[in-house]
Symmetry: D3
């Protein structure tokens, strides 16, 4: 089985994001462990910001997952809104994990009240609907946006600064004692953000692959 792969699919079409994910997963690649392959969804939009973006990638994701099924041991959907998660679980008995759920669930073991740092304010109501569907609102301290556009996000120092500022507000005014980065591709900032805010920080792509690794090793499939 170990020759099969964990496919980590970035559902937006930005190869730089996939590159950031790739790099973030380096420590999870070990000799006897499952192979990890990161892919960019060719049919995806350049960014997933609106509900339409989320919904639009489900059909291509289904197609891609179906085409990879034979060589797969598991799938990780590398977008914080977990597009297509439940559809994908219908077409494969192999584990499918979304980085949104993985990020939040991991945070539940690191603190009592979870603060989420979103990129854009428009995503927040969508995320809240999702946390509600997961039944996890009692553990949510709050979610706030850094409010940076794609261009601005490229400036890592500024992004870190904004994330630290937002994280501090979540900690001080909302009582968060653990933070989740509500986006993919920013793992490089995790350590410094954790140091800056002084509470544990979860990077969701790492959390997603970490969560599925063991399941692959255990060969847990849904019935």
């Amino acid at each position: 089985m170990m020759s099969k792969k964990i496919y980590v699919i970035n559902p937006n079409s930005l190869h730089t994001v996939t590159g950031g994910i790739e790099e973030a997963l380096e420590p999870l690649r070990i000799p006897g462990g499952p192979e990890i392959e990161c892919l960019t969804l060719a049919a995806g939009p350049p960014g997933i910001q609106k509900q339409q973006d989320v919904d639009s990638v489900v059909t291509p994701l289904i197609r891609q997952v179906a085409s990879l099924e034979l060589s797969a041991s598991a799938f990780v959907i590398a977008c914080f809104s977990d597009p297509g998660l439940h559809s994908l679980r219908e077409i494969t008995a192999k584990p499918v994990i979304g980085i949104g759920e993985a990020g939040i669930l991991t945070a539940l073991t690191l603190g009592q009240r979870v603060g989420v740092i979103a990129i854009l304010p428009e995503s927040i109501p969508r995320h809240l609907r999702y946390y509600g569907s997961m039944g996890l609102l009692d553990r949510l301290a709050g979610e706030l946006p850094v409010n940076l556009g794609v261009a601005e996000l490229a400036d890592r120092e500024q992004t870190l600064e904004r994330m630290s500022a937002v994280g501090s507000v979540l900690r001080d005014a909302h009582g968060a004692d653990v933070l989740v980065m509500g986006c993919a591709g920013m793992a490089a900032l995790r350590n410094r953000l954790q140091e800056a805010v002084g509470v544990p920080v979860v990077e969701p792509c790492q959390a997603g692959v970490a969560m599925v690794m063991g399941r692959v090793l255990l060969n847990w499939h849904s019935t």
Copy 2:
């Protein structure tokens, strides 16, 4: 404005279902009220049972809603899983109502604990996720399936019998004091089901159009 229409879109491709909806809405057609037009989503699957079916109709629904926007006063999505609801709200400032949310919200004014009669067991986890995203689980008595296939549903007497049986279990074992029919196109059974079980029954297509009518008259658009 009154020359504009409430479009009720059946996202599955079955014209008989659309016909049942059409008939159900007859009482809501009044001289000074908004015109109501029922449509079948040509690109829809023959039935919406799995999450994939739900997700698959979002893109064609967006296209259809966009094409109707100029002549529309509002949209009602006539499938209990409310496919594409939040995507559609992004592309039009006109009211968009899903019959799932309308059915449940209407039930909240008719009883304290809501029982939902589903068609198939597979839909129930999806519906539960949705009620969770709406924050309404504290009012849910339970959801149980009649477990009838498409062919069997054509037998109205049998369907009524099964719905009455399931509704009685929801009332007696789960404490439901109001029921929602968790599907479109069965309005013809509502009165008899209500009589049989002895608690108010909500037909969601009627609930959906009823809920949006006033909003059209008031000319309430989102900002």
Copy 3:
């Protein structure tokens, strides 16, 4: 049946409030639609501010609803605390809607987190108890008062200004993406408040009648 009326009962004795409600409902009066008649509860107090005021109007409301029953198609209780709602539902099988519940339920279809603008701080614990009894606290962003007395409310510009200020705090500090006016008789300010704060605003008297109209047309009675 259409000759029968929707009675909208203002349970305080202020005819100016009833006048404001009357005006607000103008768009909902349509050929073929149910007749709408607004009444002032003669026995009501000049304002409903305390729990005692709420409780004190139930007996006269029961008497009034009973006396109107034959000519009624439905009743709307035009006070945000929904006084007597469940008692009234015991004495008539015709629909009875409170503007409090209608306002909140309508808001649930316009945003994910509901902010309520109250008039007085004393009302807020009572409203919170009510939202709790409706099982809707997970969708509440918060409720804040404008804290204006009856005399001050007469100054519409000042009232709008305060409502806008309070609405902005609910939006920015509490994450509200939809607002409900927690009082009757101020429909004239709805459009401007929505423009000022930039999120949908629900006027509860309009929401209440809008919600019951369809039910009257469908002839839905409780069993």
Copy 4:
């Protein structure tokens, strides 16, 4: 202050119920403790079964509480629906406790999941609304009625048998590990019911006076 009394007001007009309450409180009458006086609300209905009954006693309760205020150290409202609780708290700074809230809150310290034995099924939705307003639904195992009329309740052995049967269903099918008697005047059955079902049983009138006694001794008033 100790010369002042805890007034326990039975809001229905049945002196036999008041007598049962009187007897139940005997152990709470101690030297140095607050005097306890049980009263029957003359204006009350013969039984409190519907929401109308609950609402109808608020005005006479307010009058009675106001007339007793000078000689009172506290008030206990001896009906499980806690009629007028929040209105009464507005007219006196002295402690006012409802036996419904006291019964449930006491149960929270005796078990993890609370089962309530109601007299009539009609009361259950009202009680559920109340538990919701108290924010306590997560601790409710369920509520079931004995479904006995006033005449039948006079037969104590039959009543005990039915309560034991209902209590056993709450324990076995609903997971209750503590029970509350959802009515006043049946304290004489508490011990035998607890023995029969094998989980702690709370009698709410006793719970109500027990809860307010200390507050009287501490002289805690609301501000």
Copy 5:
């Protein structure tokens, strides 16, 4: 039975804290009432701040409760984290009350939204877990620390000032309409704190003994 005692056990080893508790309970000592004896847990740490402190006192508490069982009518654990509560309930059928639960449950009858004033920020996640286990989070306005060390707490005026400041934030920014002092031994400040903030304040040791007194008189034991 009345010759038996309510043992109030301070699980930290500070006799001054026990002294403060002793004094606070004076009004609850009445001629015909249960005797109240305050004890200091010799094996306890000098303060209970971390989860380790909480867990470390359970074994000595069990030993102490077991040794006192014959002469006890009830036990009150006088630490806001309610250490060992459920273990102690396993070893005695006599009532065991924690001041944390008693404080919060008492507050539920004095306001709609409870604010808790903690001593140290480290305790808050632990308290939140506890409120969650009690199912009471819907009534929590928030919890904030005064952030004073043991030495600083000795300065009563400064402590009162900080508590008043924190209480005012809970009232104004978090909507608390009742406060609980989240610690033992500060009863002397209750009255002044209540006056300063203008909402009811619960002192948990008093609440704990008050809650158990009636149970002792009623001779309620678990089965």
Copy 6:
């Protein structure tokens, strides 16, 4: 770092249970992955059934964890009640995972409603308090005991039969679509239980180590 170990500590003193855990973790031992060492807590009781058992192992667990700290990369507490979890997190910055939390959180990614199979009925209220403290009650379908003593559990076929029976009740009467084995040391039955009931089954020891493996590889420590 990879020379450091994940210590899996069985807090009861039964070496056969530790042996079962050891065996269950075989698939998670891979080249390049963290070493996994299973230990039996010498000071532990022969079984952890009551709250006292849970509380009694915290102090020896703290001692053991402290003594292993230098050579540890992470700790897994192999008892479904997660004894000492939060105390242990105070004494080490290395990841500490309880198999109870890991079992439930893993289940959240495999179904919508979680059913838990407990060994003894006495554990259920304790587990419910824990799920409440985790804020996860909205996802709990129910928990039921197999009600087998230690001797009976040794008969694996009988145990499987009872687990299958209880699992089927959770699936059919409580709506569970994923199950968690609420105990350690029974991994050998997982596959057959999953086949028998037809829904995914989570074995919590495997889930616990699987959940912490990635964290070790990522070198995530709390701050």
